[in-house]
């Protein structure tokens, strides 16, 4: 079996250099590659373009790379939880492209499936459609306008999984799955950090979410904080 294991986050991100485009998994702070983000802060690569559904919070997640001013451009669907992000955006330091969440997911999926474009109705008639090619299709008895959207072309994808093996196979847990599987499929080089790196044969092939062919580097992360953005509970 091909071995995809690298020693740690530092080794995994060693060739992520200035001006690269990264796909970063996670929804809010759920399922984010904590170890790789910390390693990137340490490495100091600058002028990064990051594609991620959100931009973290001020002091966690991608917010850490914003604080250290390593991000030139963010492509996200929702950025409401980060004051430093807002400051950098309004002052013009940070370039921001907001795109519909389903478009974001599907542009990753398209890359992983080798399809250069998709057509989606999301954003038709809005400022998201400005400058984009549209076509009208009749499908399921409904005639609608669709926007052409391009598959992402990213130098690296950085994802977080629950379990993985040395062959790069990944299993995600609960809603920490979110964008991670399709981003894993979409990177020219994909780095996966996992909570638990298990022996070959321990993962049931029927249960694998991302086959190892999509994962070029894998390592077991450490000291996961797994911060919760909004703890909402009910009394016993």
């Amino acid at each position: 079996m091909i071995n995809r294991v690298v020693k740690n986050a530092e080794e995994a991100v060693k060739d992520i250099t200035d001006n690269m485009t990264l796909l970063v998994g996670g929804f809010g702070l759920c399922g984010i590659p904590e170890n790789c983000i910390s390693a990137l802060v340490k490495k100091g690569s600058k002028n990064l373009t990051c594609v991620s559904n959100n931009a973290g919070v001020d002091d966690f997640g991608l917010g850490l790379l914003l604080q250290s001013k390593q991000i030139k451009k963010m492509i996200s669907s929702y950025v409401g939880e980060n004051a430093e992000f807002e400051r950098q955006m309004l002052s013009g330091e940070l370039e921001v492209e907001l795109i519909p969440q389903g478009t974001l997911a599907t542009r990753c999926m398209a890359a992983g499936y080798g399809m250069p474009v998709i057509y989606t109705p999301a954003g038709v008639g809005t400022e998201v459609a400005i400058g984009k090619e549209t076509r009208t299709f009749t499908y399921n008895g409904e005639t609608k306008e669709y926007l052409m959207e391009h598959a992402f072309e990213a130098d690296f994808a950085i994802v977080k999984a629950w379990k993985g093996d040395s062959a790069g196979n990944l299993i995600f847990r609960s809603t920490a799955r979110n964008f991670n599987p399709m981003m894993a499929m979409a990177g020219k080089i994909t780095i996966a950090e996992v909570e638990e790196l298990v022996e070959l044969g321990e993962l049931d092939p029927d249960q694998i979410h991302t086959p190892g062919i999509y994962v070029h580097r894998i390592f077991q992360g450490e000291n996961y904080e797994k911060r919760i953005e909004q703890v909402t509970v009910r009394k016993k």
Binding site: L98, Q101, G102, L104, S174, Q230
Partner: protein, 219 residues
């Protein structure tokens, strides 16, 4: 006049047995609290849940299990989790039957604006553009007027649009209205104690009033 819970209660009556429903952040989330026993619905959360349950019991929250509002939630028996591409796949392919979301403005032809106030607030559209572009049945939960007292039911939206010609029904603190295919807000029900005159004064877009307008029944 209805409070937020009142709006949610009235919308809950639109939720029918067997529906898969996506609830947006804010008042729409409250709708889940008022779905009657015996009406079996499955709540979809676009970050990847079908069969979302209530908030966890104190101490049992799981960082890996949140809803689209980033709140900790639980899974009901029979639920499933999946990735974001599949989540929007079931939205785009119209398997999700009903979308309930908030709005800053709605126009008389069904356009909706709810993601951006230029120069003031830019949080992003999240999944709203995907939802409104594909959902067959969209109900908007909103206040009839903004904090400055200006109508949010307009001839045309002033704010950047989220989607065009998509809203089917609106429930506000004053009224229930639907949007006619040829355009116009048709008044269906008045909130308790609210007169047609009050609704007229609070609606800037074309308001269509046909016959007696009944007071809504909530409980």
């Amino acid at each position: 006049m209805l409070d937020k819970n009142g709006i949610a209660k009235r919308i809950a009556k639109e939720v029918k047995d067997g529906m898969y429903v996506n609830l947006g952040i804010g008042i729409p989330t409250l709708v889940a609290n008022f779905i009657p026993d015996g009406v079996n619905v499955v709540l979809q959360s676009e970050n990847g849940i079908l069969g979302m349950g209530p908030f966890p019991i104190e101490g049992e929250e799981d960082a890996d299990l949140i809803n689209a509002g980033k709140q900790t939630v639980t899974l009901l028996k029979g639920s499933s989790v999946f990735d974001s591409a599949m989540s929007f796949g079931m939205i785009r392919s119209q398997k999700v039957n009903l979308t309930i979301l908030g709005a800053m403005e709605v126009s008389e032809n069904g356009d909706i604006a709810n993601w951006k106030i230029p120069g003031k607030m830019v949080k992003g559209m999240g999944g709203a553009m995907d939802l409104v572009a594909s959902a067959k049945n969209i109900i908007v939960a909103m206040q009839h007027v903004n904090k400055a007292g200006e109508s949010k039911l307009l001839p045309n939206c002033d704010l950047p649009l989220t989607g065009i010609r998509c809203v089917k029904k609106i429930v506000t603190e004053l009224a229930v209205l639907d949007i006619l295919p040829e355009g116009g807000f048709r008044l269906l029900e008045r909130a308790p104690g609210v007169s047609v005159e009050q609704i007229k004064n609070a609606t800037l877009g074309k308001l269509i009033i046909e016959g007696e307008i009944p007071e809504m029944i909530i409980d």
